[in-house]
Structure formats: C-alpha cells, structure tokens
Amino acid sequence: MTDTIKDVSKLTIKDVPNKDYFIWGHGACPGCGVAIAVKNIMKILGPETIVYVPASCLVVFGAQYPTSAFEVPYFFTAFENTGAMATGIRAALKRRGKKAHVVGLAGDGGTFDIGLQALSGAADRNEDMIYVCLDNEAYMNTGIQMSGATPFGAWTTTSPAGKVISGKRSFKKDIDHIVAAHGVPYQATLSIAHWNDFVRKVEKAKQVEGFRFLHVLTPCVPGWRSEASKSMEIARMAVETGMWTLYEAEKGESALTYKPKKMEPVIEYLKLQGRFAFMNEDDVNTLQRWLCHKWWLHYKDEVEAPPCYIYRTEKPMHMDGDPLHGA
C-alpha cells in the first residue's frame, strides 16, 4: 500500500510474523495444502485485511456459522464472483476512506472455470485487490471432479479410469498467461515448498497497488490420493519436474524466481500420487513431452532437462488448449 516497494529479496521464512489470522480448529483434512497456504498468507498480510472466499473447500473448513477460523472480516456468497465481490468491497472502502487489503481466496474451479469472467473483469479494471488462486487441480469440495486446472492423465471422479477412456484428456489451462494478457501490475506463481520465495511474493503483492494475482499449488490429500505427510514433498517435486514453475511478473516483465538444478522425470512426481496410478506409458510419455515444451519455453537452455533429450529432436506437437504452444 506504499508508493515505493521495499526490497523483499532478502526476506526469508524467519521474517514471517508469529501472529496468526487464520487459526487452529479449522476443519481441513490432515495434510491440507490449502490450509498451509492460507495460514501463511494471512500471517504475512496481517490484520488490515478483508477476506472473500467463494465456494470451495476453504468456505467449508474456514468458517461455518456461527464460528470462523479467520480473525479478520470474512465474507462468502457464491462461486463465480470473487473478482466482482472484491471490486464492490474495495469500492466501499475507498468511499469510506478505509485502508485494507481486499483478498479473494478462490480455488482453481472458482478461478479457471466458473470464476474466469469475474477474474477477467476485475483484472481488466485493475481493481485494487489480491486474487489468490489456491490450485488443488480439481473440484475437491464437491468430491474431486475435474476442472480446467486438472493435469493431463489425472484421475478424478469425472475423469475416471474407464475401460475406454482413462484420466483427463486435455492439458492444464495456463491461467497465468490469461491473467498476464490483462497486463496486471503483479502476478506470481507460488509453491508451499519454496517458502522463502513464497514469503517474498506475498510481501511484494502486499505492497503493490492494483490487481495482484497469486497462484499457489496446494496439494490435496484425498483428491490426489496421496499420503498426508507428503504434501510438502509433492509440492517440491512439482517444481523439480516442471509440473509447476516459479516466476513472477511485474508490469508485464516476467522473471524466473527459482531454477531447479535439472529436470526430474515426471514419473517421480506421478508416483507419489494415486490419481496418476492408472496412467499408461503412452500417457506418461505424452505428459512428459508436453512438459518438455513447457520447460524449454520457461527455462530456455538454462536448466538441464535430461528426460527431454529423447523428445528434443521431435517436431513440436500441436496440442489444443495449450497456450504455451508456439509462443
């Protein structure tokens, strides 16, 4: 909220305040990635914050009448209106001369799919808000149905492992590129397993004015069919395999914020999660090939990608729905 942005590059996990604004006693599943992300985001944002949560797991486990795990003002109404609701709240604050962060904590369905229109409207109007997408790659609250964020090959209850069709058949929508196309002041991708990077990005988002978009990968124990204790490890492996990349963009200037030493084969990520257990070799190779294109577009030749050497000589594939293609 200040005119000059303080240097956040030296911040670490040690600088995270002790005081919680999203507190214990909430009803998340053990090992919930969303809870880890929200707890820490709220610590960094602090008390001058108004939270809007659309329909999602968080709306169920974060507050139920008459109680709430949020110590700050909390509001919920519907699924698809995070961008719009924050717009209204911000307009009221402005008129009343009040200062506060207006934060939307939406899931991937509420962002990639049903909430995309309101997200686009708010980004386009450059509303002064922090839009957080807590991405657990499916509609977990309703019982693990696929969304635009679900990766290729993943089992969900609407992409079941059938005899004819098995797993999601399209690739993950690149929501960050969609947001970037609006020319927003600040956007970043975050991983709960890269905490110093996480802290810096939330802190920067806190200081920038206008529309800010934070996209966090949040492993989901029941939805990803993973062990509760492995949520952090899975988040880390997502980055090492290129399933998740860490970068930020300020006023359209995009920069990597973390580079793995070298690319790990995607199978190392897949095997930690039951949702990929049904994938056959062809599907794993298809996913790996898609990842390799993504990897090169992202890291260029700066980071070695041994799993990609076999695909390197192939012509780039034309894949529907992959906005990175041909970029």
């Binding site: 709306v59 009448y65 509001f75 209106n81 209204g88 309101a118």
Partner: protein
Amino acid sequence: MVTRVISGDHAVAWGVRLARAEVIPAFPITPQTLIMELLSEFINDGELDADFIPGESEHSVMSIAVGASAGGVRTFTATSSQGLALMHEMLYAPPQIRLPVVLVNVNRSLGAAAGIWLEHNDSMPERESGWLQCYVEDNQEALDMTLQAFRIAEDHRVMLPVMICLDGFVLSHTVERVDVPDQAAVDGFLPKFVPVNVLDPDDPVVMNPICPPEYATEMRYQLDRTIDSTKSVIKEVGIDFAKRFGRSHGDLLDLYRMEDAEYALVAIGTAATTSRLVVDQLREGGKKVGLIRLRFMRPFPKEELREAVSGLKALGVFDRSVSFNSFGPIFTEVRGALAALHLPMTDHIGGLGGRDLTIEEMRDIFARIEENAIGKADRQVYWHGLRGQMQ
C-alpha cells in the same frame, strides 16, 4: 423544485442522483440503459459524487453491489429481463444478509419468443428472493419511489433490498411531466446511510459463512417476519414524503373509486393507469366499478386486500405474465390471500411481449368481471387480445 419533461428511466436517474448513491455498478441492457447513461453523465460532469463500475455481466454487477453494500455504502443498480435473470443467484444474497441495495428493474419479457418489450415475467419470479418489490405507474412515481426506496431499505427496522419495477418503454422511454425536487429537500427526507453489519478490519465480522441446519429455519422465519413488518415503515415513509413534497401515490394499495364498488380489477404498473379511464367511463354509465392498484408485491398486502374487497361481488386480476399451465402470478397470490372470502375471481392475462394494452381490451376485462359478478363467467382465466378461440 424543477419541472422537467423526462422519461421514466431519466426520472429514476434523477432520483438516484438526489439520493446521493455512492456506488453504482451496471451492465447495459435495453430498456434500462438510459438510466446508466444519464447517471454516467452526472458522475462525469461532477454533479454526482459516486463510483460508476462497469461490471462485466449482471451477475458480477449484483456481486459488486452486494460487496459495496456489505462494505457499508449506499448502492444502486438497474437492469432488465435477461439481466435480472442472470442476477438471480446473487439476488438471494442481500435479503438474508440484510443489505439495503436498491435496484430498478425495467420490465421486459424474458426467455425465448421474447423481445425487448414489456412483460412482467422477469421480475415476478423474483418475488421469492426476499426483496421488497414495488411497481410504479408513472414517471413521477418512478422518481419518488426511488427516493423512498433508499429510505425504506436503509431503515434499521428494515435493512432489506428494494426492487422498483417500471414498465419497459411504456414508462422507461415515454417522457412525461415530472417534478424534480430540490437537493436540500431530499437531503432532509433521506438521512445518510448507517450500515448495521460492515466488512471493516477495525471491527471484524464473519459475514454469511455457510450455515448448518441448526440455524436456517430461524433465519428464514426472521426474514419472513421482517418483510411483513416493513408494511408500517412503507406507510410511515409515504406519509412523511407526502408531508414534505405534497405528493402521495397511495399506500401498499392505491384504491380508485372503490367506495361503493360491486366489482373491481386488481392491476399493477401502467395497466392500472388505463383502467382508471375505463373505471371513469363505466362509472359515468352507472356501473359501480373500481380499481385496486397493487403497489407492492412484497410485502404482499394480504390484510389490506381483504379489507379493500369487502362488499365486492366479483374481482378480476390483471396479469402481464403467466405461470404456464397455472395462473398469472398476481392472481395466484391475490386468490390465496382472499381464499376464505369465496369471492368470485377471474384472471386476465394480456399485454404480453410488448403487445399494446388498449382501452377496448381493458373494457372487455371489466365486462368479463361484470359477467362473473352475476354468475355468468364461462372460465377462470382469460387471455386478452389472443387470436383464435381460447380452449
């Protein structure tokens, strides 16, 4: 006070300007657009200190309105037809959260086989949502009720959203003589908005979290009772308005020549205006007829209706929409309220999809009600102006 010759839409815009609305989200839709255009001019010319927010859909517009109202500021929006339908999901938020948003719906037909023209099938389904719903008859009432709507909605005994409905084109795009009050007089009538629950970090609330079964029944009943209790506030505000501005448009009901009436018509909006003329003509011919103009669909004036129809031999209801294979919605509600009276009643459906409602049709409606009064009605539901025989 300045006398202007303006459209219904512009009368609303003047009302919003005088009410000093603070946040105005909107999305264009005919025949509402004139309201937003004039409000945008007021704002851009510095005549109204408000934030106009161009939402990217009506769903977002109502979300923005709810957010702004929850943020504690006076909020206005307007829409029509498909726009109101797209808002439908969000319309259910402000009544239970008790946010006094004021919305003007310019009535227009909804759905397929629809155009941009007048029908009431857009706003009638929203009777269920918990909004107070008022139907106006002319442009003066459009302006006056816009002012009263804010005062009623924001009264701490009410704290409910208000939807004012005005007939598309017949009012929205028709210019009439309208007395526009002075700002100072309006400021005296309409106090500053004082919210009850506000999203404010200095005084945190948890607002509208999901609600387990232990609470919903009580919350619904409380809302139902609150809507019922708004009747006295509506009366009170109407009386104060009349005192300050010298005009009244009636109470929940606006009764016309009902003193010794033997049969009468219930009508809303501009249909009521045309029936006034027919009542006058029939009275000249010695017929004891009257008109009950229903000004509010919510709160629904059940007791007032029972009182108004005492002594009648028959009652007709004019509906500008129909619940297919049932009756017009107003007929259903009026008959429900009067069930114990066993009053002969007929439903008169007409003026659909912008079909002009002529004086001949209105005379025909009264003729049918008169037949019913002497036990000669051949059916319960009449479609007026229909080509071909009714089945």
